[in-house]
Point group: C2
Chain length 217, copies 2
């Protein structure tokens, strides 16, 4: 049986991807990364989804990344910027090279477990703001990853040309339980509805014509 | 002034590279990785060299990599294989995807410090045994790294077509203090002289016609 490892943040994109990979018949496991994000609720959401789908799940600590390169997502003294995602101020939410670090550790894990397919839920809505979410970056990472070890790992990013709305439409078909996902960059009881992440999520649910099961402030 | 970050293991290759980069006039800093290696002495050697050259030095813990993917370099219950480096049994010394993980964290660090040039001392002697030491792997990593952030980092691997003997010849010209380096995979008081690393080192010193200042068993 084809083995797959899905990088699962606990947000709606990677959760939808997990449902899709599982439906496609892979023997699936998931890995999440704790990089000191304020929105720890996404890690709990990831664990809940894996429990629900009976998928083995591992969370890896990346606290070192926060020490090396602080960002507004991890520092208490920095405020999360509000407003639409494309804004210049959203650059503050970047944890430098987070994606390459996560991909490299997920690849090490995949090699250890003899998993061939590594799935990552990056999508086109992120391209404008994050350089390491663009197709060229993934194309080169794919080439490097497949040359990293005798056991070949293939990086798959099937959502790279979809936007978050397309993903919500797909999730509707897959009956994804979006109550077990978390998107807001503020780690509060209810989602703020104001940060770039929330704004995008709400637009996506609108496009898919489904109701977001999360509560908003 | 051009800023450079050198990935410094504490072995003879990266130490020689550090001397070269410093001589070339870069504002230089160094980073080392503690991945639970038995040969911790290489980390002490790295610190001694940086102290000697007055270069800022940071050691980053990578214990997570050992948890994810064990190898003979990090597990007490596994013996370090003896004999020449090219042997099939040396595959046991591979920590899966170690190079990509180190490069991705070093890149994050370089971005945080606004460093443009990231130097890595990989050389041709490693190509046969380690897939992630081959030129194609580095070419793709270079392309991915320069696309990882708004601040562009350039990966440089100037020794990739040299062998360890060539590096020792270069080190002789640079007056590298090889007493402040460590190569043996066994972490004992004296170098074993038998593991693949020691065998290669001794051959390199022979080629350069200099005496290795380390003591051997």
């Amino acid at each position: 049986m084809k083995k797959a490892l899905v990088i699962l943040s606990g947000g709606m994109d990677s959760t939808t991807l997990l449902y899709q990979v599982r439906k496609d018949g892979y023997e699936t496991r998931a890995v999440s990364f704790d990089y000191g994000q304020k929105h720890k609720k996404e890690l709990k959401a990831a664990a809940l989804t894996c429990e629900h789908l009976k998928i083995p799940h591992r969370t890896i600590s990346l606290s070192v990344l926060n020490e090396l390169a602080p960002s507004a997502l991890t520092r208490d003294e920095w405020d999360i910027p509000e407003g639409h995602y494309a804004g210049e101020n959203m650059k503050q939410t970047v944890v430098p090279n987070r994606n390459m670090v996560m991909l490299s550790l997920a690849t090490a894990y995949a090699i250890g477990k003899k998993v061939k397919y590594l799935f990552y839920g990056v999508h086109s809505g992120d391209h404008a703001i994050y350089p390491d979410c663009r197709p060229a970056f993934y194309s080169y990472m794919q080439d490097a990853i497949m040359r990293a070890d005798w056991h070949q790992v293939l990086l798959k990013a099937p959502f790279i040309h979809l936007d978050k709305g397309d993903i919500a439409v797909l999730g509707k078909k897959l009956s994804v339980d979006y109550s077990k996902t978390w998107t807001c960059y503020q780690g509060k009881e209810k989602a703020c509805g104001k940060c770039g992440s929330c704004v995008e999520r709400l637009e996506a649910f609108e496009k898919a014509e489904i109701k977001d099961p999360l509560e908003y402030e």
